[in-house]
């Protein structure tokens, strides 16, 4: 059965070009970039090139790139690293809809005497910037707010937020793993201090990430050991991963237009047709400023896991914010923060596309969705209740 992959916010396929670029670094070019001999040293040169490619996509200086092992490491390093240099300040501001890589770290800080403010969002998943402004004070060490939400695709006005925060001398970090490669960035022109990205969300392999640290931003080193990454993140480099990420960033820059035109059109078509053919369905999150590849749709009276399993039978991969898919008993914290009624949150499905998706795949999903939803609604005790 053909796999139709609409779960690109979870992870992406490694691009063929990326794989090819990485291959020699497993087999023939296995030297340690820190070695004095030419055999190892030539790898060091390639890492420098990869760093330049990443910097090219982000619009920053290569010296501002620290390679890490994943987005979660970058987030942790940014938060702990920034707090370590301002020990007298004890307040951190974040949002209720962050990825667990940020939210869990912040909640843990509370047990270490920090005051953590979690900004709320409205029904559309948007922040109230007045609330943020009101919370900024002399005790605030760090503000960490995601660039775009992984579940809904809603993009926060990060430029404006970064300006508001940094103009008060407070460090600003953003988890941008869902954004890099999907919307253009120019960090040289932005006051953002720290930014996390993850390779496997943009067609590079799993196991490589980046923490961008703007020049002049103080941050404590987070892995001590050798001199790698300027001594801030020691440890022998994941050479194939870094080479792969460099290649992926170059490709992402080339495909940026495609992502925002063709992929966006496919997403819009998928969303539009599903809303048309499946009654009692609705989009979660603001649709005005949203990642071009993501849609999150709730289907009343049915449960997400059941939808996913029926989609799976057709080879269609998606994800859900329902309680049952996570093993927890409550639905997605993002949808709950938005005040999406439980009835709709349990039946939410996220489709996230990539440049590898085709119109045929979208048409196939459009054709299958109403069958699946109708079938589950025939089983549901609530459908009849609703009609009464």
């Amino acid at each position: 059965m053909k796999v139709i992959y609409f779960d690109n916010n979870a992870t992406t396929r490694v691009a063929d070009e990326v794989y090819e670029a990485m291959r020699p670094y497993f087999t023939t070019l296995y030297g340690n970039p820190s070695s004095m001999h030419t055999f190892g040293g030539q790898v060091g040169i390639k890492i420098r090139e990869a760093r330049e490619r990443v910097a090219g996509l982000l619009g920053c200086d290569p010296s501002e790139i620290i390679f890490t092992s994943c987005g979660t490491e970058s987030d942790s390093a940014a938060i702990h690293g920034a707090l370590a240099v301002t020990p007298q300040k004890r307040k951190v501001i974040t949002t209720r809809v962050e990825h667990p890589a940020v939210l869990s770290v912040c909640r843990d800080l509370e047990t270490h005497g920090y005051t953590v403010i979690e900004l709320s969002v409205d029904k559309l998943g948007l922040l109230d910037l007045n609330e943020l402004e009101h919370q900024l004070d002399n005790d605030t060490a760090l503000v960490t707010i995601m660039y775009a939400n992984n579940e809904t695709g809603v993009i926060f006005p990060i430029g404006q937020i970064a300006e508001m925060v940094t103009s008060r001398g407070i460090a600003f970090h953003t988890d941008a793993v869902q954004v890099v490669g999907k919307i253009p960035l120019n960090l040289a022109k932005s006051p953002i201090n720290l930014l996390s990205l993850s390779g496997h969300k943009l067609h590079a392999p799993k196991g490589v990430g980046v923490l961008y640290v703007k020049k002049g931003t103080r941050i404590a080193p987070f892995l001590l050991g050798g001199h790698q990454e300027g001594g801030r993140r020691a440890g022998t480099e994941n050479v194939p991963g870094i080479i792969g990420l460099g290649a992926a960033c170059e490709l992402a820059a080339q495909h940026m237009d495609d992502e925002n035109t063709r992929v966006k059109r496919l997403r819009d078509k998928l969303e539009r047709e599903i809303l048309k053919t499946c009654p009692d369905s609705r989009v979660n999150g603001d649709t005005r400023d949203r990642l071009p590849n993501t849609t999150n749709i709730s289907f009343e009276y049915v449960e997400g896991e059941a939808i996913l399993l029926l989609l799976d039978r057709h080879g269609i991969c998606a994800s859900s914010g329902s309680a049952c898919t996570s093993g927890s008993l409550e639905p997605s914290h993002v949808l709950r923060a938005m005040g999406v009624p439980f009835t709709a949150a349990h039946g939410s499905i996220r489709f996230s596309l990539s440049r590898y998706n085709t119109e045929d795949e979208v048409d196939f999903a459009i054709q299958k969705m109403p069958e699946i939803i109708n079938r589950l609604r025939e089983l549901s005790p609530f459908v009849q209740t609703a009609e009464r």
Binding site: L309, C324, T325, G339
Partner: protein, 293 residues
């Protein structure tokens, strides 16, 4: 990805006996949309008092649907006395097992069956009768139900109880109470399973007291509020008066029926000192940021 048995998959993809019997002898309803799963079971008896037909309608995940489907197959041909003996474990076994976190689906099946039989016998409410006192306010689970799943499935940890009947799976505020029920039933077997709560010392210096209050708030109270998007801050301690401020919101929380202040006070009395009382600091309230439903 859940690992479901072939039997679960079969009953999910090809559910048997879907629907509703028009002139049913018994109707049982359990669960709700908010809880994430719900089941309506209807059955019809023949002249000899045996279940001749059973149908279901279920909102829920694959295992909820599969559980409902096998239940209708299992009870057909049984007398009500025989059907009453079906336990949640029987249902799970019939399916070749369910993932631990999905065991509550089998309990829902058993409850719906009981509700339907009660409905037939009493002719009254179709809803599952609530017996005992509510322990888990998030999912509306009573001590009677918790005791029953512990006994029938020989459970020894709070986590298991949550997997079997959802109790403790929301804000987590009732976990201590569930632990006590387990200990009462299982005795020593349960006692080793959970970490002890912070120690309550007899005589505290002022600083120790404040530290213990802060620790109790951090460990016992805040996580529960957190689960519902709220937060709490310790403002001041003066003698036995503890001044706190609530942050964020608990808009959708069913616990809001009784004030959070009482919950905090109960926890502080339990873990710190009996004499403590809580006052809410109204001056430091956050300016109005309305959370819309």
């Amino acid at each position: 990805m859940w690992e479901y048995t072939d039997k679960v998959r079969d009953h999910f993809f090809n559910p048997r006996n879907v629907g509703e019997i028009e002139d049913a002898d018994g109707i049982g309803e359990v669960g709700s949309l908010a809880c994430g799963d719900a089941l309506r079971l209807t059955f019809k008896l023949d002249k000899n008092g045996r279940i001749v037909d059973a149908k279901f309608k279920t909102f829920g995940c694959a295992s909820a649907i599969a559980t409902s489907s096998v239940l209708t197959e299992m009870i057909k041909g049984k007398t009500l006395e025989e059907a009453m003996k079906v336990t949640n474990k029987d249902i799970a076994d019939y399916l070749g097992g369910l993932p631990e976190q999905k065991m509550h689906c089998s309990v829902m099946g058993r409850e719906a069956l009981e509700a339907a039989i009660e409905n037939y016998r009493g002719g009254g409410s179709k809803k599952h009768e609530i017996q005992g006192n509510i322990v888990c306010t998030c999912f509306g689970v009573t001590d009677t139900e918790i005791e029953r799943v512990i006994r029938e499935n020989n459970l020894v940890t709070v986590e298991q109880v949550t997997n079997y009947c959802k109790a403790g799976g929301g804000c987590g505020g009732c976990k201590g109470e569930i632990q006590k029920i387990i200990e009462r039933i299982q005795g020593e077997k349960a006692r080793e399973q959970e970490l002890p709560p912070p120690r309550k010392d007899k005589r505290l210096t002022n600083i120790q007291k404040i530290q213990l209050i802060q620790q109790t708030i951090n460990e016992q109270i805040r996580p529960a509020l957190r689960a519902h998007g709220g937060n709490i801050e310790l403002i001041d301690v003066a003698g036995d008066k503890v001044v706190i401020a609530f942050r964020g919101m608990c808009a959708q929380c069913k616990v809001s029926e009784f004030t959070m202040k009482d919950v905090v006070e109960a926890k502080l009395r339990e873990f710190v000192s009996e004499g403590l009382y809580v006052e809410e600091d109204t001056e430091s309230l956050e300016p109005g940021h309305e959370h819309e439903e």
